[in-house]
């Protein structure tokens, strides 16, 4: 069962990563005119429409992660400790903490993306979105690396 949940967690994380990366690029590097090129299209996505989906994907990913986290503590962390792999173990410890901080930040993220606040809080919106994107990228990479160390289904 944990393998199925791990795959679902990974798939949700990929979708979240894509949506949040698109939104971050469009808010940090918006296109003035759409030329039809790939980069121009990437920069000119309607970023406001991503917000609710990102919140839902983040919560789904976090809930799935919190379920499989028990298996990490019982089986995977022990392996990391046995092999004295302190850096991956510490990286995963940091992952759980930054994920928690990002979860607490979600309501504020949603609030600053409301159309009514579009111009007034553009800087805050850009920084909060970038911070969330950085956290999601970090968590995705660390989760992937730790999974590779232990090996799927082993």
């Amino acid at each position: 069962m944990f393998s199925v949940l791990l795959i679902l967690h990974g798939l949700a994380a990929v979708a979240l990563l894509g949506a949040l990366t698109h939104q971050t690029i469009s808010v940090l590097w918006p296109a003035r005119t759409r030329t039809g090129s790939f980069v121009s299209s990437l920069r000119s996505v309607p970023s406001t429409t991503y917000t609710n989906v990102i919140v839902i994907l983040f919560v789904v990913t976090a809930v799935l992660g919190s379920i499989i986290y028990t298996e990490y503590r019982l089986s995977i962390r022990v392996t990391l400790q046995d092999y004295r792999m302190h850096i991956p173990e510490g990286a995963f410890e940091l992952k759980e903490h930054v994920a928690a901080i990002a979860l607490g930040l979600l309501p504020a993220y949603w609030y600053y993306w409301r159309p009514a606040l579009a111009k007034e809080y553009a800087t805050t919106r850009a920084i909060v979105t970038s911070l969330l994107a950085a956290i999601v990228w970090y968590n995705f990479l660390v989760g992937h690396i730790v999974n590779d160390i232990r090996g799927f289904g082993s």
Binding site: Y69, H86, L94, A100, I101, G104, L106, A108, Y111
Partner: protein, 108 residues
Amino acid sequence: MSIGRAFPVFGIAFAVIYIASVYFNLALLTYHPQLVRWGMLVEAPKQGPAMYWYGWLLTSALGAGAIAALSLALPVRPFDRVWSILVWVAPLAMIATIAYILRGYVLR
């Protein structure tokens, strides 16, 4: 009055309370994964590890919820400007704090 304006305060308070909960272990719940059993407040490991992460989340959510509710009593101006800065400064500072707390994993 919009409840939404308390959301930035929730994010700020959540980050600070969460790191304090981790550092001082202020978990409201403990989970024993080997036994598949929950316990109230901080319990020592019984069989296998004890997990406090869920408890830290609950502590932070309740604490931040209370502070966010209280913040609605403050005037919108100038506090909305203050929250719009602290909402990213506080999480960044708390991430730096937890990275410092965990430095032993790298320096070992």
